[in-house]
Amino acid sequence: MILTLFILCVLAVLAALLLPHARSIFSVVSILSTAIFAAAGFVAVPIMLGIAPALQWGFWYLDPFASTFLLVISFLQWTATLASVPYLGYELHEREIALADVRRYFALLNAFVLSMMFSVSVNNLGLMWVALEATTLATTLLVAFYPRKGSLEAAWKYIVLCSTGISLGLIGLLLTYNAASGTGGSIDWTYLLSLAPTLSPGMMKLAFIFVLIGYGTKVGLVPMHAWLPDAHSRAPAPISALLSGVLLNAALFSIIRYKMLVDGALHASDWTNWLLLFFGVLSCIVPAAFILIQTDYKRLLAYSSIEHMGITTMLFGLGPVGTLAAIIHLVGHALIKSMLFFGAGNILLAFKSTKFERVGDVLRRMPYTGGFFLFGLLALLAVPPSPLFLSEVLLFSGLVGAHPYALTIVALALALIGAGFFMRIMPMLFSPAGESMRETREGFDVSHAAMALHAALVVAFGFALWSGGLSVISFIASSIH
């Protein structure tokens, strides 16, 4: 069944490359991506609910934790593909891109999705590394998609920094392999986990430092985040949504896999928790400063992704309750941030600029996009019933006893970020704009449907957490220990 997923992705790549017209590419790729979502749901949901046991077959291993990632990836690729259709359709119509660009876009998009799904469902840590590097390679040309100023620079930074970072992660893998050698030579994660208590603690600590720095570059943890705002702001909006919503998560997923091995070797989780908290706190304060002075709304959203990955990383460093909250935060942030990027894409198409000063009066001129954008903004700032409300409450309650100084810093950073969001985005939504705006009234299209679906899921998820949904999340969290 997992193989079906990969075959569907390959079919979508082929469809994008071979079909004769943009229209037929749009429809076939949309159908295939719906099928990918359905198939992933069929595999992942029973495992997440505990109806089916964790799947371990051949190269693959899906526990409830990995299944959650698989489901989120497949859902976001579905809505991102749907949102891409009007986005690229509009640019085709405006002759900003040609048919060859549409082919390239969907082929790379599906290669990207394939490598991400591969990286969370593969058991072999070496192949997981190969897949994560493949995600960088698949998206480089998407970051450089437009022949505009700055996109070459963004792509160059992206490929050089991420590849270098992830190569350091490979050193971590080699150290782990060395710690386990003499015991059969497999680097399957499940096998290593069963050996974890016997692995050399010194070697595993060293390995974790390399893994955290290396894969942390892809997560966007400060100070390895330099590529992230550039890549997110230059890529087409649906791709930014995928980068923010799931690519960063997939890299964090690998770090957590290693954390479990290292905790096993050390017979305690204090050491890894401390490192995660350190990088998490750092990743909250630095974006706060940049959000306050931001002039570009896509970059603002990108900095906010760094902050949220910081919060998630911190939550993973806060023990069992933290892990529970981390999963809520991951899923909630993925849904909300990608929705905001879809909205940002529509605003960019209408105003032809990503600068705040060129955009205004969005709520009146683009009521659907503006409405969902406002909703997403509030949900991102953890206004109830946003699921992020619960996860951030749990973050504060986890920090208050153990790390009061960290709590002070994080609370200050979050307050600044909230202020920055209101200061920058509210004028864009409500104040009168300049002239560079088409006057036709906005129609409801597929991208708004995708945003509506995200919004509905965010609300449903938020309410579900208060009425029984928490037991599902705690079951998922129990597969991380």
């Binding site: 070496g126 190969v130 700055g150 050089v160 270098t164 190569s167 060395n178 705002p229």
Partner: protein
């Protein structure tokens, strides 16, 4: 009979010497030839180790490295450079002599680190060499201000990591090695595409044109 240690010592010396030469080259053609030489020593080392330890998969990996890193990648880079009239003169923040001494210092530090901080391996010579190659690769990445210099810096680092795999674990599983080499081929293809685009946009592969996106 030559011992594994002698082989390692010999090839380590050759690799470090060629890497030191590499970081100080400022002409494109000799820069790439030095990289080719470094990769050649690396693949020969893998082949020799594989032969002496009777590990068939190491020999296979050695041959693949020979094909990819000694023949394909350098050939590809030189052809593109010729076809697009890229300036032969490479750029760097730091003068070649200073780079040479920085490189020497990094090699010393790497061996010190390998001897003191990484416990429990028999092969500290290979370990020190591989760390040194990783450090020299990073030095290239940081000091060079043209796209080719940075890309080759990444490749040198990748060579160091490959050697680390040989020294610490006797090589990764074959499937993983193939995956890594595949990623490397795609990486180089992308780098070439970006270089071509930079040449078309700025008529230069210098990274001074790639410094506009700041907050």
């Amino acid at each position: 009979m030559i011992s594994i240690f002698t082989i390692t010592a010999g090839f380590s010396t050759l690799m470090l010497a060629s890497a030191l030469m590499l970081i100080t080259r400022m002409r494109f053609s000799s820069f790439v030839s030095m990289f080719r030489l470094l990769s050649l020593f690396l693949s020969l080392f893998a082949l020799a180790t594989g032969y002496m330890e009777g590990e068939a998969h190491l020999i296979a990996v050695g041959i693949l490295v020979l094909i990819v890193k000694v023949i394909l990648i350098p050939e590809f880079l030189t052809r593109i450079a010729h076809r697009t009239n890229i300036n032969q003169r490479l750029q760097s923040y730091v003068r070649p002599t200073a780079l040479f001494f920085a490189g020497l210092a990094l090699i010393g530090l790497s061996f010190l680190a390998a001897l003191r901080y990484i416990p429990g391996t028999e092969n500290q010579l290979g370990l020190g060499t591989s760390l040194a190659l990783v450090m020299l690769g990073i030095l290239l990445l940081l000091s060079r201000t043209d796209m080719f210099g940075q890309a080759v810096g990444f490749l040198v680092m990748e060579n160091g990591i490959f050697l680390l795999g040989l020294a610490m674990t006797g090589g990764m599983p074959f499937l993983v090695e193939i995956g890594i080499l595949f990623d490397l081929c795609v990486f180089i293809t992308l780098i070439i595409l970006l270089v071509l685009r930079a040449q078309a946009e700025h008529s230069s592969i210098g990274t001074e044109y790639l410094r506009e996106l700041v907050d």
